[in-house]
Amino acid sequence: MDAFLKYLAVFVTGGLLCVVAQILIDKTKLTSARILVLYVVTGVFLTAIGVYEKVVKIGRTGATIPLTGFGYALCKGVFKAIDEKGFIGILTGGVEAVASGIAMAIFFDLVASFVSKPKSKNS
């Protein structure tokens, strides 16, 4: 039961973050690129003021997998690097924290684009 509740928290947190974006898309005609930018930047600032850490405690991947979580990882990485390395951490921390995700995205996406062709849509 306890495990179920934990997964439910993941589901609800992730779902709600998507619902907010859906309302923005439907009501303001924001394109997906703008939504993603908005989410990352929001994630960074919510983490900086300490709010997002609490959301992650409850929602776990429900909070880290949405793009706000990408901002969370960036921000946490910067703070950690500053604590460890001082000033230069401002520049190294963010990218270091998300390096694996970006490298994976670039490399696998490159391979994918070589082997796969876009298909037209029917509806």
Binding site: G15, V37, G59, G94, G101
Partner: protein, 143 residues
Amino acid sequence: MNLEQKEYSKLVEKHSGKSNVFVNCLRAFLVGGIICVIAQIYNDILPFSEEVSKVHTTVFMVFFGALFTALNVYDNIGKFAGAGSIVPITGFANSIVSPAMEFRSEGRIMGVGAQMFVVAGPVLVYGISSTVVVGLIYFLLTR
């Protein structure tokens, strides 16, 4: 024949189709939630420490986002789920692979290489720049 600008704007507003926000939100909620739960399950079965597992999970989800895009499936998920498949990191991967695939006809360098970040580029630009700003403030406050 005359038509006032303001009058027409009102007319457009009146006749524009409305999205079914409730149904769209429900779908976004379900798909977005399921994607996160899949990530959590994967995360929980990994034998690594919490920090390392988290990184593995992100990479795993990026991989699947790219894979389903390459299999010509992700756009169909997106049609159903809307933001539910845009907001998770799988959607970020989708936004990189889809232009890369689309522009492969323009060559590997200026096509695939340059167009890959047409949607995801701004995410990195503003994501990283905002951490520099936030980091600078943090640095000044903690000295």
